[in-house]
């Protein structure tokens, strides 16, 4: 209670000074960025979570390698200058020299080892292990600027995986921290929980000094307010405003946000085991009618679980056309063979998944009903939704179509395919031994062969299995104050590098 009274007093004092709102910091090199989701942790090993990554990743904490999602440069060096494969399972990384952490200590191989150990440790629940699955990672320090990393079993994309592990100093405790120390161009100067986070440029950064001197992050759940803040000059960048607010061509730009919106088909219950029914579901939806109406005009139709910038993306797959007559014919055909086509199908959505998700779901429901499906719509809040989306599935469920978004901006399908399509995948709605084998083969392959194997898998899933109803590669809108230059990209959803922000 005493604390509360103290903080109460402090808050009262802070409210009393009568400053006129500091609007546009015109000449200064400071920026204010308004984000939609608050930040509850500033923990480097959680930076794969997009709300944390947008503030922290490559700004405060850096990684050994960095994947170029936007261009075609592939995997680029960051804290590692180069790497080479020692044998099947071991890679050697040569580290950048003369790099300092923001607390003044030097960066060396011990820090890398500690960062990897910490991220994989059982003493705290980092997100990192999810990208490694059952692979065991061991780091061995060779000398202060060289480190060997071994994966057991062998891991074809180990250098890519290193773009996920953020590097922290070797004395970072084995528990979640709230004051991240990193090698990046910025350090955290202040964190007023619920109000803002302030990042300041470091003078002793190893690379080129970025233009922005100070970045203040504020959080507004309502996209209309975020858009208004940039309009009034209170903020400079709002990376995710709503399409209905994106009315000013001068400041607003669309960009693909790496989310794929799709419906998982539950092959565990009738009538969805029948392939004709799954085809009918795909044919029943007029995807093109959504574009420019309920979803932004820049949206493209999805043909795979991953965005087109991903390795092995198969450009030959065409989106399912809209053909209600053919869908009806397929249903009639299935009915003649005794398939229970009238069984109830529950269409499941998540509230607040994106701004107008409810309307999109209602439109899908109506299209499916039009061709003769018996569809119920059910929206859930996030916890209940995740419960339904993940295994184990309830035994007494009706047949389900679960509409979900999946985000993979990490360059390789391996971060998606096992989870969505393997018999043991936690969100997989079916079981097909051939698919299992294809996933395992592609995961182990390298180079051109790997891309080819993923391509084949995408085609097989879409044409032969008809595993799901793929809908859209989603886009977002960013509003950028004319005084700064910033180009949002497919990476913006998971990281927002301040070094890419400039001034006019």
């Amino acid at each position: 209670m005493k604390r509360s009274l103290m903080s109460l007093g402090a808050a009262l004092l802070s409210a009393v000074h009568l400053a006129v709102p500091a609007s546009a910091q015109n000449a200064s090199k400071d920026v204010t960025i308004v984000l939609g989701e608050g930040v509850d942790l500033m923990e480097p090993c959680m930076s794969t979570r997009s709300n944390i990554g947008r503030v922290l990743l490559q700004n405060i904490n850096e990684t050994l390698t960095e994947f170029d999602v936007v261009g075609d440069k592939g995997l680029m060096p960051r804290l590692a200058e180069s790497w080479d494969q020692q044998n099947d399972s071991t890679w050697r990384f040569h580290l950048r020299k003369n790099v300092k952490f923001s607390d003044g200590s030097d960066f060396d191989a011990e820090d890398v080892k500690h960062s990897i150990d910490r991220a994989m440790s059982k003493d705290l629940s980092c997100e990192t292990p999810r990208y490694f699955g059952s692979t065991k990672i061991t780091a061995t320090v060779v000398d202060p600027s060289t480190i060997d990393i071994t994966a057991e079993p062998k891991q074809a994309i180990l250098p890519l995986l290193m773009s996920i592990v953020t590097i922290v100093p070797s004395d970072t405790p084995m528990q979640f921290v709230r004051d991240p120390i990193g090698t990046g161009p910025y350090k955290m100067a202040a964190w007023n929980v619920g109000q803002n986070i302030v990042l300041e440029r470091r003078g002793d950064y190893w690379g080129d000094a970025p233009q922005v001197e100070k970045a203040t992050y504020v959080f507004r759940t309502d996209p209309a307010v975020a858009a208004a803040m940039v309009q009034t000059g209170e903020a400079d960048i709002a990376p995710a405003i709503s399409v209905t607010d994106a009315t000013n061509a001068e400041t607003d730009q669309a960009y693909p946000n790496s989310e794929v919106f799709y419906m998982r088909i539950d092959q565990g219950k009738p009538p969805l085991q029948d392939k004709r029914i799954r085809e009918a579901l795909n044919l029943a939806i007029d995807r093109q009618a959504f574009v420019g109406t309920l979803v932004p005009a820049e949206t493209t139709l999805a043909t795979a679980m991953v965005p087109p910038t991903t390795l092995g993306f198969n450009k030959d797959i065409k989106p399912w056309p809209f053909d209600a007559e053919k869908a009806k014919a397929l249903i009639a055909d299935a009915k003649a063979d005794g398939v229970a086509v009238d069984s109830k199908i529950t269409l499941i959505g998540r509230s607040n998944l994106f701004p107008n998700v409810l309307e999109v779901m209602e439109a899908i429901q109506s299209m499916l009903t039009d061709v003769g499906f018996n569809v119920d719509l059910q929206m859930y809040e996030v916890a209940e939704f995740e419960d339904i989306y993940g295994k184990p599935f309830a035994e007494d469920r009706t047949a389900q179509l679960v509409a979900a978004q999946h985000d993979n901006a990490r360059g390789d399908p391996v971060f998606s395919m096992f989870f969505k399509y393997h018999s043991n995948g936690p969100q997989s709605g079916f079981s097909d031994p051939k698919v299992d084998q294809m996933i395992e083969d592609a995961t182990a392959a390298t180079g051109e062969d790997r891309a080819k194997k993923w391509s084949d898998l995408f085609a097989y899933l879409n044409n032969d299995v008809v595993a799901d109803v793929l809908l859209f590669n989603q886009v977002s809108f960013a509003r950028v104050n004319p005084r700064v230059t910033f180009k949002p990209t497919i990476a913006t959803n998971s990281q927002l590098q301040l070094s890419q922000v400039g001034f006019k």
Binding site: L12, L18, R130, G194
Partner: protein, 304 residues
């Protein structure tokens, strides 16, 4: 009076305990925080590890025992989401909400009592009709609608005020103004109704017959008699605000306890939910006690 206070503190303790027990078990019926904290693609190993670290594997009753034991040592547990003591998280939010509620309720009470009394003085007169219509439109307009329109008009078009956030006195004006509208309509109606009823009662007529001036009729005789239901409704509105003004806090980016509570409920951060409920409940109990004391002062017959 001392007996009243002592009795209330004792009984409030029991209701607080009942509340904690209810919330503890009910909230845990609503799903698993591990699945929400960790990514969808988390391995079984990660899930097990998370549950082990946060003691979610034990039987519910063991978890409850541990929670109560910690509580007796004034330890409200850790926030799952923020990895720091839950009570710190709650106190930060509550400080904001408390100020917002106190300022708003004070303004609402003054405005509603003054305008309501004036309206009741000539029921169905022009002023009464006008006040009723305006306050009713306010009370039944969706608050998010009002909030967004207010931002567009006052912050974007006129640029008189900041859109949202905290920092200066100016930042408080829009949230307080939007929050003001709904309780104002409600309390105004109650004041007006109570006052009309009191005007109708014989003793006011007697006072009038005796030639007491209009102003003193309102403020001395009638108001005092009409205050009991008014105070009750003000108390209820204040309690609702102490529980947090979710929509206002969300839209204006105001870091209060209402937004915290909704986020914690949706993310199943049980320790924060419990700590927040205990803090706000305590505040509400204290306020209700003050209301009962106010009753006793206003109307000596109520003392039992």
């Amino acid at each position: 009076m001392r007996k009243l206070i002592f009795g209330r503190v004792l009984s409030s303790f029991f209701s607080l305990a009942a509340l904690v027990v209810m919330v503890f078990f009910l909230s845990r019926l609503t799903g698993d925080p591990a699945a929400l904290f960790l990514p969808r693609e988390a391995t079984q190993e990660m899930l097990d590890n998370f549950r082990r670290l946060h003691g979610l594997n034990d039987p519910l009753i063991v978890q409850f025992g541990r929670y109560v034991w910690d509580l007796l040592h004034l330890d409200f547990g850790q926030s799952l989401r923020q990895a720091r003591p839950a009570i710190d998280v709650v106190f930060e939010g509550f400080a904001w909400t408390f100020q917002l509620a106190a300022i708003t309720i004070a303004l609402v009470s003054i405005a509603a009592i003054v305008i309501g009394s004036l309206a009741a003085f000539r029921p169905d007169g022009i002023f009464d009709r006008f006040a009723s219509v305006v306050s009713l439109i306010g009370a039944s307009a969706p608050d998010f609608w009002v909030a967004i329109v207010a931002i567009v008009v006052f912050a974007v078009n006129f640029a008189w005020l900041p859109t949202s956030g905290t920092g200066t006195v100016w930042h408080w004006i829009l949230p307080v103004a939007v929050l003001f509208i709904r309780p104002f309509g409600l309390i105004l109606q109650i004041v007006r109704g109570s006052m009309i009823q009191s005007f109708g009662s014989l003793y006011v007529k007697t006072a009038r017959a005796k030639g007491v001036g209009n102003t003193s009729i309102i403020f001395v005789h009638t108001l005092r008699n009409a205050m009991l239901p008014v105070i009750t409704v003000i108390g209820d509105q204040a309690a609702a605000m102490l529980n947090g003004a979710v929509i206002i806090e969300t839209i204006f980016g105001f870091p209060g306890v209402g937004k915290l509570m909704i986020d914690s409920i949706l993310q199943r951060d049980f320790n924060v939910v419990l700590a927040a409920i205990m803090v706000t409940a305590l505040a509400i109990f204290v306020m209700n006690l003050l209301i009962d004391i106010a009753y006793a002062i206003l109307d000596p017959r109520v003392r039992t």
